[in-house]
Symmetry: C2
Subunit: 250 residues, 2 copies
């Protein structure tokens, strides 16, 4: 396919591909924490393993550094400076109890930004099958893992759940709050995407403006299928990943 | 909590919150295609519905415009210029057959960038339980929906599946290719995150450099549980969303 292209163009595509692929592989390995002691292979080792040129290896490392994933020091080498926390999607759904090591096993704590009764906004009304203006609880918070902001969420909760949650101490994560408030729930739905952080959200999450965030819009239903909770969730994509597994129905 | 804060600070937080919440609600409604004829409410309607100031409404609309989601024309109003395609996550896993209207129902076509046998890269080896250097098929492509690039993927496939797929015409999507090549599969795992597009990836996907992309790292196993396929997938987050549903185990 590329046979008729001039040699310089073909090489550009090859170089672009090498850079992208090495970036994908290294980024994944860094976030999954596979390097012993967080020390990356040397440039020479990476060149040999991937058949990449020194220029490509250096450019890849420069990109990873700009992403805030590694640090390079003369004479010391290249070190990983972050490790992502992986959360099972079924746990994020609240569908299964959190595993021992899960973030959702009481490892998070919230910094509440707003907890007030408001009229349900018109654009949230269709998602909750309720008229605009219905009284609802708005609960907005930054979620902290240790001292680091991990994400933030705006929740809209209808009655009667709203009343049960209005004054309940919010200590860990959303599902713990639901449980402690005696609010039962059944199915939950996520719509996943991503977005660039605006200045204010970036500041709340400790990121640079424009940094990519995972976006999750969630609707939680009660055991009878009535939606009572709509949430807009933004998560730091450079620190937190979600894992989902599914087997083919034979 | 904010009672001791100076009034100007409190107002800044309130304004930030109004902007973020209106942005979340409008962005979701735009991507889900809820506005009749793609026409957004007027500024006055948005101010009344959300109790937001005119400045907040205008700033929110400016952010949505910069994100490439709406267009504003004097005397005509504010129109939606995109609509996202939602894909069920179980279908993206290959776990269930695609529904009639699904993207995965033969609506995509690939532009192949690379299809060659290569030694398995060291950083891919642990994910496929195979030694580095094992011969594998690398198949890299941009996925098109209509004429629009929707995502791109780099696949590493072990033998014997690699040989079955090496010369098979690649016409629609990955699962169609697996099926047409007679490659059976069982479980698949995704690790989801997001990333900013580098210059080359952005160009391939028709986005500006730095635009947010959904990242999905996938491992597909055969019916016996042996991993044979590792993929790094990048998806335009402003056009494609994933939906997942899970019910709580009672």
């Amino acid at each position: 396919m590329a046979g008729h292209l001039p040699r310089s163009h073909q090489s550009g595509d090859e170089r672009e591909g090498d850079l992208r692929r090495l970036h994908d592989l290294l980024r994944s390995a860094i976030l999954r924490g596979v390097f012993p002691d967080g020390l990356l292979p040397t440039e020479a080792e990476l060149m040999a393993s991937y058949g990449a040129t020194r220029a490509t290896v250096r450019e890849t490392l420069a990109v990873l550094r700009r992403e805030g994933l590694i640090d390079r020091r003369q004479g010391v080498g290249t070190h990983v400076v972050v490790k992502a926390v992986l959360t099972q999607l079924v746990e994020a759904h609240g569908a299964e109890p959190p595993s021992q090591e899960s973030l959702l096993n009481r490892r998070l704590r919230p910094r509440v930004l707003d907890r007030s009764m408001i009229p349900l906004p018109a654009l949230a009304a269709d998602r909750l099958d309720a008229p605009a203006g219905t009284p609802c609880l708005r609960l907005e918070y930054v979620s902290l893992f240790g001292d680091e902001p991990h994400g933030m969420a705006t929740n809209y909760v209808l009655s009667p759940e709203a009343e049960r949650m209005a004054d309940m101490p919010f200590v860990h994560d959303w599902y713990t709050l639901l449980n402690e408030a005696g609010v039962g729930y059944g199915e939950s739905e996520f719509i996943y995407g991503c977005a660039a952080a605006d200045a204010a959200t970036a500041a709340r999450l400790g990121m640079a403006e424009g940094s990519p965030m995972i976006t999750m819009e969630q609707v939680i239903r009660d055991a009878a299928g009535r939606p009572f909770n709509l949430a807009f969730i933004h998560i730091r994509g450079d620190r937190f990943l979600f894992v989902s597994n599914a087997a083919r129905r034979q």
